[in-house]
């Protein structure tokens, strides 16, 4: 009797708790719905509209609906910049992976918890410090009168400065630098969970170092690798600060194109929205690949 009462009491309590769980989520759902989802829908709609002058009563976009903005976005002027940005984002991701995996592996294999925490702290700290300032430091290093060129000329290796700042190279270095921690953290998380007895098992079964890594360690830590690649690739496609500070007129990326359409005078809002739409297409492809890979594994 008493037990029955207890059970019914606890189950109605649980049901109430579940409803309460939803109420707690409500502010976030409303906030993100209004200030995140709806604005994205606005971008989508405006990318199909006609450019307006933005002067007087006329808005920055008007009827009728058209595909004109998308034609321009993938056309001869803007198309190459978009492809270039995707390529730069890809190269950045590859280099972040090559640098980030050994780093994450190193952190996760420290002997004591304290050492592991400290090794991790050394990666997280630059990650959270001011992005503008960290990017700016590369101007000191790569500039024509910068550290590397002074060093090369001081040693007599070159007579004239090598142009590094305001090129794709500088942008690439800045991006790898800025986004490396995004690669390290998820890989660290998966290496840390990895059971190293599996490597011993692989050795016992006759695998060498390379084989043990390729056939055991890498597949088991792949979710972290994929997550890291997503976290680097997606933000880098839309990077604005790094190409603006290090790329000059040579290293233009999608971010600057979009910014110009919205924040400079004479901007074309539907074109900006369409360029952003094309970029979001690449973002969606990356996210769907990620979702597909993680679902298959789980």
């Amino acid at each position: 009797m008493a037990m029955n009462l207890d059970l019914s009491g606890s189950s109605s309590f649980n049901r109430r708790e579940k409803r309460k769980g939803f109420l707690l989520a409500l502010p976030a759902i409303i906030y993100l719905g209004v200030f995140f989802v709806i604005p994205l829908i606005f971008v989508f709609i405006i990318s199909f509209m006609t450019r307006g002058s933005g002067r007087g009563d006329e808005g920055f976009y008007t009827m009728p609906f058209t595909l004109r903005a998308y034609q321009d976005a993938v056309g001869a002027i803007y198309g190459p910049v978009i492809l270039d940005s995707v390529w730069i984002a890809f190269i950045t991701t590859v280099f972040c992976l090559l640098l980030g995996y050994p780093l994450a592996f190193f952190i996760a294999t420290r002997k004591s918890k304290a050492r592991q925490q400290f090794a991790l702290f050394l990666v997280i700290l630059p990650f959270w410090t001011n992005f503008l300032v960290r990017t700016y430091t590369w101007r000191i290093i790569l500039g024509n009168e910068g550290l590397i060129n002074s060093l090369l000329q001081g040693l007599g290796l070159t007579s004239a400065p090598i142009q590094m700042l305001n090129t794709d190279f500088a942008v690439l270095v800045g991006l790898i630098y800025g986004y490396l921690p995004f690669m390290v953290l998820p890989i660290y998380a998966s290496v840390e969970r990895f059971d190293f007895r599996l490597v011993e098992a692989a050795y016992d079964l006759g695998a060498n170092d390379w084989k043990a890594f390729w056939r055991v360690v890498l597949p088991m830590t792949l979710p972290g690798v994929v997550a890291g690649m997503i976290l680097v690739f997606i933000p880098v496609i839309g990077a604005l600060v790094t190409p603006e500070l290090l790329g000059g007129t040579q290293g233009i990326m999608i971010g600057s194109l979009i910014q110009n359409q919205f924040l400079k005078s004479g901007g074309n809002w539907p074109l900006g929205a369409a360029i952003s739409g094309v970029m979001m297409g690449f973002v969606m492809i990356a996210l769907m690949m990620y979702a597909g890979l993680t679902r298959r594994r789980s």
């Binding site: 309460k20 200030f35 971008v43 780093l103 925490q117 700016y136 952003s276």
Partner: protein, 310 residues
Amino acid sequence: MASTTTHLPPRPELQIDQGQIRRDMAARRVGKLFTLTLAPMAGYFFLWAPIALLVIFSFNDSKSLARWEGFTLQWYANIFNNVVGGDATFSTSKMLEALETSFIVGISATLISTVIGTMVALSLVRGNFPGKRFLDGLLFLPVVIPEITQGLSLLIFFNAIFSFVNGTTGLSIQRGLATIVIGHVVFSISFVAIVVRARLADMNPRFEEAAQDLGANAWRTFWRITFPLILPGIIAGALLAFTLSLDDYVVTIFMKGVGGDTLPVFVFGLLKLTVTPEINAISALILVMSTALVSISLFFQGRGSGRVGA
């Protein structure tokens, strides 16, 4: 006999070449040294050398940014004497104004996003309602979607809302600090939720059950049990939200009105338009400030983790 003869032929191949083995082992050791030690060290060097250089060169007694000419505190002194960028566009008072704006925006965005983010973290860990997985995905998106897309989408959104309000009521609303705060809260909610959620997941739910068995209602249970236990997580999340807001440039330039520059907007203009040694000093000061904030946040994230409800 037969067996020995069949074993004889391969014998010469079995002869051990000590030199070869030593070379193989050396190659293996070099390989291990490279992948397990040198590569990570190169990674750390890559992450920290530019920061160290910046701080060192902020004390450089030269107009040149890259040749070391001796130690000076001149550039730091200049900042406090109202010279930042060589002309009136970039005075110290303008910079302090921008810093003040950043703090007003940062504190407002932090308060709002910490409350909303903590609530949604609680609902995701303790609640169980339809659409929970969907909400999980929704919270993940502002972290990964390029900031520039968030900035321009909010610009389009507010432009449409404001012109609608103007058309119907005649009121003229402009973008300003409020719109910057709204933009910063969008991405901060996700980060607060991630940090608080990790803390909640570490916490033993039996403490809450015990409080309720002892007759406390949900409200009282939260404030007397849950809140004190997850407080370090909430503080860490709030400090991260504040750091993100203080750091943000991209969403801010889309959301700011005329004037009303935040510190990153001011610094970006400075970095882009002038080359003066004071920039290194300002940058070093900003680095120290954000390093302090992050260290405190990480301290709170690490504090007692693993001990809660163990």
